[in-house]
Symmetry: C2
């Protein structure tokens, strides 16, 4: 048997999403073989993140500073706000570099099934941010799921009347999508939102 220390490392790695017991063992062997090139940098990176982890008190992003790098960046357009469900969504949008504004992380989505109510999400904080003024447009970038869309509708109703333009991400064919392989829901959305050929 491997030593208890190595077993503990295997078990800790196996709990990460995307890794099982087998791939965790391979990862441990890799870390052990490449001590200087793999284990030492991972340890240092983990230590630094563990020490400095902070949730941005403005937008809910996770970073090593508060306010986070995005909220503190003066080149960001403070008048556009993109509302997302999770930090992962924020990171995905930010990687695309397509949205020049700032973000607001709800921390989840409304779900009758999981018992998640409006007060469990940071919706009140969003409303306060909008009431403070200075924001012209809110992009509701919820997932295209039933729960995501329910959340978007709820938020749209809550902020109705505020002097803010509310938009949401377009739904339709994904790039590369073949009609034959797409579900009826997507086809229905794409057809309903059809546009004149330019």
């Amino acid at each position: 048997m491997a030593s208890p220390e190595i077993d503990a490392l295997t078990q800790a790695l196996a709990k990460l999403p995307g890794l099982g017991p087998r791939s965790a063992r391979r990862a441990v062997l890799h870390l052990i073989k490449k001590r200087e090139a793999a284990l030492v940098p991972l340890l240092a990176a983990l230590e630094r993140v563990g020490r400095n982890l902070a949730t941005c008190s403005t937008c809910g992003n996770v970073d090593t500073t508060d306010p986070c790098g995005i909220c503190a960046d003066p080149r960001r357009d403070a008048r556009a706000l993109c509302v997302v469900e999770e930090v992962a969504d924020l990171w995905a949008l930010d990687r695309s570099r397509l949205f020049p504004g700032r973000f607001h992380v709800l921390g989840g989505r409304l779900s009758a099934l999981e018992g998640i109510r409006p007060e469990d999400l940071s919706i009140d904080a969003l409303v306060r941010r909008l009431e403070e003024g200075g924001i012209d447009e809110v992009v509701l970038a919820m997932n295209a799921t039933l729960e995501g869309q329910t959340t978007a509708h709820y938020i749209a109703e809550r902020i109705e009347g505020l002097p803010v333009r509310v938009t949401q991400l377009a739904h339709g064919l994904p790039v590369g999508g073949e009609l034959d392989y797409l579900d009826e829901g997507t086809l229905a959305q794409a057809l309903r939102a059809r546009r004149p050929v330019a």
Copy 2:
């Protein structure tokens, strides 16, 4: 963009086998969200392994002690020695709990293509262990690949004449193997090594 610290952690994780950039990001988000349950134990486990890592000077196993837990275990049968290519193979065999003896890790396999020669593997150390006496049987547990089998043949020749029984793992149908789906090489091995029905 995520902070440089978080980016560095993502990159360190993405280098592990089985993880790519995407799964590394998911893993980082998991570590960040479950700071106490995931990040802290992983950090502690990594630290402990990094501090105590040792290669067994007897068998080449990687452990946190030298000699390793297997070599130091008095309940192990010191008269049977199983020779494997890599530490991963040792761990796989040891997990099965089928081999009661000790191990010898070669550190690879002979390969003309990769320029790996006998002196690059711990073959001399194996011969010395056998010459010291006290070992009755050597099981050559190389992979069933061309290079693994070449290595096994080479070792068998090197230790010919020593008062030791040399065996190798049986080749044939894997458990659950269906003839229709197996390669011709496996079928040929299984046919050549056919045995009388008991």
